[in-house]
């Protein structure tokens, strides 16, 4: 298999890599770019632990080929905090005990941020459906919903 | 002597008795006494048992003191999640 050379932007930084044509963006991020924040929980788009944004759209990195992202902009959990300051969502997850084991947390933060970027004031139902593709096995989701709503409220007030 | 309550499926090794009396001052002596008096209990005791002493469960603790008036119940060794 001939490797492909790709130029892309991850969290605003220009990056280049080579990858096999059938290599997923998730494998590229984790194994070639050292960004292990996105997790592989299933590899089939059923758990959301690898959620990232691709040109502003929320996607599962396991369902994107590395070869597809030439010229694209990718956002991962590593890019959510700026200059060492936590994003309100990140702070709210800590404050509300919205994470336990934390393996789903990066994906949920990327997904929740993607929603709040579009809809700063979602209902609980909208939030629950938006996050339906992000499995969490520890929390029962209750505190996740509370944390996102609290962050949304703080972001609206800011 | 200490009266020890056994769980039901062990009674085939104690002539059908649900409770047996053993001379013991601690868990270790109790287990040794049980095996000596009822050799059929040996495999289960070697696999592991817990002891409830006055309602509190001990998983190992050979030298836990047992008094003659203590409530002593033998239980399977448990594992959790």
């Amino acid at each position: 298999m001939k490797s492909i050379h790709i130029s892309t932007k991850v969290n605003g930084d220009a990056m280049e890599f080579v990858c096999a044509p059938d290599e997923s963006l998730l494998d590229v991020l984790r194994n070639r770019l050292g960004l292990t924040g996105a997790k592989e929980g299933c590899g089939t788009g059923d758990c959301g632990a690898c959620s990232v944004t691709l040109n502003g759209r929320l996607v599962c990195a396991c369902l994107v080929l590395g070869a597809e992202v030439d010229g694209a902009e990718i956002g991962t959990v590593e890019g959510i905090a700026t200059d060492g300051v936590l994003h309100p969502l990140q702070q709210a997850f800590i404050d509300h005990a919205a994470l336990q084991c934390g393996i789903c947390t990066p994906g949920i933060l990327v997904a929740a941020k993607s929603l709040l970027d579009r809809n700063p004031d979602p209902t609980d139902t909208e939030l629950r459906y938006w996050l339906a593709g992000n499995l969490c096995r520890c929390t029962g989701y209750d505190k996740i919903i509370a944390a996102v709503q609290d962050a949304a409220q703080k972001m609206r007030a800011a | 002597m200490v009266a020890v309550t056994l769980w039901g499926s062990l009674r085939v090794f104690t002539n059908g008795r649900a409770s047996v009396e053993i001379e013991a001052r601690n868990f270790k002596e109790l287990l040794d006494g049980l095996v000596a008096a009822y050799p059929g209990l040996r495999p289960q005791i070697e696999r592991g048992v817990s002891m409830a002493l006055n309602g509190r469960i001990y998983k190992e603790a050979w030298f836990t003191e047992i008094r003659p008036d203590s409530e002593v119940v033998l239980m399977p060794y448990m594992q959790g999640g």
């Binding site: 044509p21 089939t44 059923d46 759209r57 369902l63 994107v64 080929l65 993607s114 | -």
Partner: protein
Amino acid sequence: MRYLRPNTAAEAAQSLADEPGVTRVLAGGTDVLVQLKAGMVEPDLIVDIKHIDGIRSITAEAGGFRIGAAVAGAELGAHAGVKALWPGVVEAFELIGSTQVQGRCTMAGNLCNGSPAADSVPALVAAGAVARIVGPKGTRDVPVRDIPTGPGKLSLTKGEIITSILLPARPPRSGDAYLRFIPRTEMDIAVASAGVSLTLDAAGKITAAAVALGAVAPTVRLVEAASAAIIGTKLDDAALSNLMQAASAACSPIDDKRGTIAFRTQVAGVLAKRAALIAYSRAGGSK
């Protein structure tokens, strides 16, 4: 394996036709990458069609809309015009997968995956949608209902790709709806589904109807008897009961991990009834 990213449909079709090995067309990738991961397929060539000119656009055409083959669910869901004309098709498309999958999945991909349980297909069939196909020998238009021929099987020939799907214009007082049954509220494959499209006269009587069922037969089934059961009625209880019976009678499902024959047969009838009621209301009918 090779990865190609052609800029024209003709180029894509030619490279697919020229490849002697296994090929896969990549649009949203939400099925293809799962197949790769599971080792179900090891393609020699993957053709990414997303960079074909015009393939990501939605354009008005003859009173309807032409949906490019690489338009993602989230993009169609944001299109007010299509949503107003064919709400059932849009809601069917939007039911596919999670928010993450919606960012990538396409109707053409959903159709070409060949699953009898594909969500968008019953709605497209009920809508009378037509796929535009480009192949090495040129372009042809084929009704969506004629594309799947069995589980995983299509009427497309080697080298052919779907480049767009046309949702036709429709008469006034028309409505459509799609419902599916899944065990959870999200993230499942349809166990049974129904798409209904209908048109009313000024008095609220149904003059035309199409009822398509999913996940209850090897391909999506357009049920003439179900349409007949409601044409000429105002969806009174007797018509609904006949519709349910006709829909259930048209089912020939399988028992599998997702549902039983009895369950699918029963629920397909229930969904046809409920979808008909929504479509009727959307067409302006009142009960």
